[in-house]
């Protein structure tokens, strides 16, 4: 267990101080200073870098607070059906989306700017390392906040999709009323509540069952002339067929939607990975360029070496020939 001895330290500071006073030792700056002056913060130039870094952090913090504050309203996509409780319209949500995105972009730009500036000034290695790490921290923080945002956005999108799926099943007149309600919510909301809430919970078969009588009333309104029972039967059969078709279509659509959601999730993962790999690919590219250069140089060197080698061979040959000639000459001279 750690033991806090800060108080002990403060006490020993005091003893040292009184002792120094008693002995009359001059301690730089602290000797004439009162207690306040002693414990006053020594004036230090606040570094430009860290204050700016803190600024960026506080910006990101604001964004986070903003997102968390509106999280509940934002996510609750059904809210406009229950107008008393809902406080946020779709346009407001879009506004939030837009603002958040702009904000994130500015933040990341600020970080980027800080990064370039931090490296531009000439510093010692350690300071540089420190700053890089700090910037990494900030970036990580921004990423976490962004994740918060993207999560709630994903939830929103999903809810909207769910809602649309349900509304598609509803009969025509209802969707019409729904369109009108979205523009003027207040007046119709109670009646809509009663209609939509069961619709969200019940199975599609039931809803279909509801639609049938309405189709029947259409038929009534359309033609005055009586339909024969055969015709009615035929129509009914056709209706059944159509409904079956619709059902299967609907199922397919739902499956496709699920897949699309999954694909989008994958897409997200891939984007992340691709972004991660970007830096790596860059460095690989650099390396490859360097390697190509090296290979070129190597080729040059080899060519040079070959040339030299050839020259050397010629000289050797020449030397040998000269040797043999001189031998011949000596031989001739001797004899």
């Amino acid at each position: 267990m750690a033991v806090d001895i800060t108080l002990l330290f403060r006490a020993s500071v005091k003893t040292v101080k009184t002792r120094n006073k008693a002995l009359g030792v001059a301690v730089g700056g602290g000797v004439d200073g009162s207690r306040d002056e002693l414990f006053r913060r020594s004036p230090r130039p606040k570094g430009d870098f860290s204050s700016r870094a803190r600024e960026v952090i506080s910006h990101i913090g604001k964004l986070r607070d903003f997102l968390l504050e509106h999280r509940k309203d934002y996510i609750n996509a059904y809210s406009h059906t229950m107008s008393e409780y809902g406080r946020m319209t779709d346009t407001e949500r879009d506004q939030i989306d837009q603002d958040a995105q702009i904000f994130m972009r500015t933040c990341s730009e600020a970080i980027q700017q800080l990064r370039t500036e931090a490296h531009k000034e000439i510093h010692s290695q350690q300071v540089k390392e420190h700053r890089t790490a700090v910037l990494d921290f900030i970036e990580d923080y921004l990423k976490r906040v962004c994740k918060l945002y993207s999560e709630q956005r994903a939830i929103r999108v999903k809810r909207v999709v769910d809602k649309k799926r349900l509304s598609k099943l509803e009969p025509e007149p209802n969707t019409k009323t729904r369109e009108s309600t979205s523009s003027e919510k207040v007046s119709q909301s109670p009646s809509k509540d009663s209609e939509e809430n069961p619709a969200t919970e019940e199975r599609p078969e039931k809803i279909l069952a509801e639609t049938q009588p309405e189709l029947g009333t259409w038929g009534d309104g359309k033609g005055e002339d009586e339909l024969s029972p055969e015709e009615i039967q035929m129509f009914e059969q056709e209706n059944q067929r159509l409904i079956g078709e619709m059902n299967s279509l609907f199922d397919e659509v739902r499956q496709i939607e699920g897949r699309v959601v999954e694909i989008s999730r994958l897409q997200e993962i891939f984007t992340e990975k691709v972004l991660q790999q970007e830096a790596e690919i860059d460095s690989i590219h650099q390396l490859v360029v360097g390697a190509t250069e090296n290979i070129k140089e190597g080729n040059e060197d080899i060519r040079e070496a070959i040339k030299n080698n050839a020259g050397f061979r010629v000289w050797i040959l020449f030397f040998l020939v000269m040797c043999s000639f001189s031998l011949l000459f000596l031989d001739w001279y001797d004899s």
């Binding site: 267990m1 230090r44 906040v145």
Partner: protein, 641 residues
């Protein structure tokens, strides 16, 4: 609720406790809370070598990063001033460290200072710092000063060593030197006791201490008892009363500390071993959970001996996160080799699965039915994508263990360690030997001179009556012919003469190792690790002397070996050996501490022992952790004198 708290405390291992304490310190001594959207803070960490040794087995660089550490620097290195950043110091309160810290204060290196001392700082040193802070008018910048009481190194969940930096100070040699003065002995004991005290503060429990009479362990016990007593007496400042710690304090059970002197068992540290962790420690450079391998990078590949062999140094961390290591560090080596093979196969299977998926996607992409295939595969793909990092991590671990195991295997083959192991086991269990000792010693192919010396020392230690002078001369001659230094033998001779007077040599329990049957060997030949020529030995459970002592003391068994062990209870007001009412219940938790150096063989043996007991815990500690090579070196230094 108290019971629940007690069990929770028991469950938290010493490793976790120390890690929590470290994290807390890094977080400016405020309990660390994991928060996904917390604002980032940054600080630099300044440590000395002691601090480095404590932190490095517990926290990785990545974890430090997560804690907001941008830079971690040694105290005595050149450090550039970094304004606007708080600095966390984690150092021993030694003279030179204090001087350096004062210098930092004067130079205004950082914005604020959080000073943490590994063990308690003395008042005068604190005043030195205060003086320097005053002179630099930086008193307010010293934000916090803490005594951390963390002066020990935790290597495993249930294993710790005292120190690594100045381990010569507390080595076996330092304790057993014949020419040691009383003051030197005092310093050695004080160092050990200080670390042990830190350990119990971190553990948050006051132990009941048992130790043998008339050994260095007894001195440690007396001093530790005194120190704990002094601390407990001052109830206001006691380190054992806070409510954050010491659920162990209120629980019914208190741990038992068994202080053992190395001299009771000298054969075990010399023994050749057969379990993975101990082998790694014995034959490779294994140090604070990090193994350094020297790989001669492909002699075959290098062009016709044109260049000298390039040595490639690699170091691997063997951490508790490594599941394979956790599972197999105590297994016999052949089993490990087999498991590495199995892991490799399972990994390949997974990789193939991913590849297959990829090929399906690629092929099917052209058809009209691609979309349906695609959507069928999306779920699979998702799982594959999410499992990829895991797979990569697994691959890294497998590579690591393949390399380590291959290196170990090379050593085993080169030195015929399997033969030594089997033979030594037979000597220690006093079964009949099928081959004379002299043959092995004079066999030029088998092992290094050091291995031969170890073998002979074990034989010498564990025989009941010493071999006759003539025999001994013969052995000595054979050993010198094999190139051995006879100094260790000198010391062991003295030691044996001494202990014979004191007590009968400990027997090593009867065990046998059997070469595996022919059938199973045929089964194993499929293994990629070519274990040919290496016997597939199976270990049988045996208890080493240390384990037996612990067993006796923990279960309150009566045994002539341990009955006269001294008993200390720091909580009793008056400490008197005979009058103290003893705790008669068996203990649930015990700490074995070997004064004068321990090893992984004993640790493994204790772990195996406690596995069979329900609800009991054992911690193993030692003043230093040495392998046989280091131990032989110390013995030969002792023998020279």
């Amino acid at each position: 609720a108290a019971a629940a708290a007690a069990t929770a405390a028991a469950a938290a291992s010493i490793r976790e406790r120390q890690t929590v304490a470290l994290k807390r310190m890094l977080n400016f001594n405020v309990p660390h809370i994991k928060n996904s959207t917390g604002e980032p803070v940054w600080k630099v960490l300044i440590y000395d070598r002691f601090g480095q040794d404590i932190i490095s087995p517990l926290l990785s660089v990545k974890e430090l990063r997560d804690m907001g550490i941008t830079l971690h620097l040694l105290l005595h290195s050149d450090r550039d001033p970094i304004p606007d950043v708080p600095a966390v110091y984690f150092v021993m309160p030694t003279e030179e460290n204090i001087d350096r810290m004062c210098q930092d204060l004067r130079n205004q290196l950082y914005e604020s200072y959080y000073l943490n001392f590994i063990s308690a700082i003395s008042r005068s040193k604190l005043e030195d710092i205060a003086n320097a802070a005053l002179a630099a008018s930086a008193v307010t910048q010293v934000a916090k000063v803490f005594d951390q009481y963390l002066n020990f190194i935790t290597l495993e969940d249930d294993m710790f060593v005292l120190c690594n930096q100045n381990k010569e100070l507390v080595s076996y040699r330092a304790i057993n030197r014949p020419d040691i003065t009383d003051t030197e002995m005092e310093t050695v004991m004080d160092t050990i006791v200080d670390s042990l005290f830190c350990f119990f503060v971190t553990l948050g429990a006051v132990p009941i201490i048992r130790c043998s009479r008339g050994t260095a362990a007894e001195m440690v016990a007396v001093k530790l008892d005194k120190k704990l007593r002094e601390n407990l007496r001052d109830a206001r400042n006691s380190l054992f009363t806070g409510d954050t710690l010491g659920a162990g304090q209120f629980s019914f059970q208190r741990p038992l500390l068994v202080l053992v002197d190395r001299n009771i068992d000298l054969a075990t540290p010399l023994h050749h071993t057969w379990t993975y962790q101990a082998l790694v420690h014995d034959v490779l450079d294994f140090h604070l959970n990090r193994v350094n391998l020297e790989e001669s990078s492909g002699v075959e590949n290098s062009p016709a001996g044109a260049r000298p062999k390039r040595k490639n140094k690699k170091s691997y961390d063997l951490t508790p996160v490594d599941k394979f290591w956790q599972k197999h560090k105590g297994s016999p080596f052949p089993e490990v080799a087999e498991s590495v093979q199995q892991e490799l196969e399972s990994y390949r299977a997974q990789e193939d699965e991913v590849k297959r998926l990829k090929s399906i996607m690629g092929l099917e992409g052209e058809d009209e039915g691609a979309i349906s295939m695609l959507s069928d595969n999306t779920a699979k793909l998702t799982s594959a994508v999410s499992s990829l990092p895991e797979l990569l991590e697994k691959k890294r671990l497998i590579d690591l263990h393949t390399n380590v195991a291959t290196a170990v295997l090379e050593h085993i083959k080169a030195r015929k360690l399997d033969v030594y192991f089997e033979y030594e086991e037979k000597i220690m269990s006093k079964t009949t030997l099928d081959k004379s000792l002299l043959d092995i010693i004079s066999d030029p192919d088998a092992g290094t001179p050091e291995d031969k010396m170890r073998l002979f020392l074990i034989y010498y230690i564990s025989t009941q009556q010493a071999p006759s002078e003539a025999d001994l001369e013969q052995y000595k001659k054979a050993l010198t012919d094999a190139g051995c230094n006879l100094n260790p033998l000198q010391y062991i001779k003295q030691w044996k003469a001494f202990t014979k007077m004191a007590s009968a040599p400990a027997s090593y329990g009867s065990t046998t190792t059997k070469p595996m049957g022919l059938l199973s060997r045929v089964m194993n030949t499929g293994s990629q690790f070519v274990m040919e020529g290496v016997k597939n030995l199976v270990l049988k459970q045996q208890n080493l002397p240390v384990t037996r002592i612990l067993d006796n003391l923990m279960e309150m068994k009566s045994n002539p070996e341990t009955d006269d062990y001294r008993y200390f209870d720091p909580k009793m007001l008056r400490g008197n050996d005979s009058s103290v009412p003893r705790n008669k219940n068996p203990f649930q938790e015990a700490i074995v501490f070997v004064v004068g150096g321990g090893n992984y063989i004993e640790y493994q043996n204790l772990v195996d022992y406690i596995k069979g007991k329900q609800g009991k815990h054992i911690l193993y500690g030692c003043s230093e952790l040495f392998n046989a090579t280091q131990f032989i070196k110390q013995l030969s230094q002792l023998g020279q004198k």
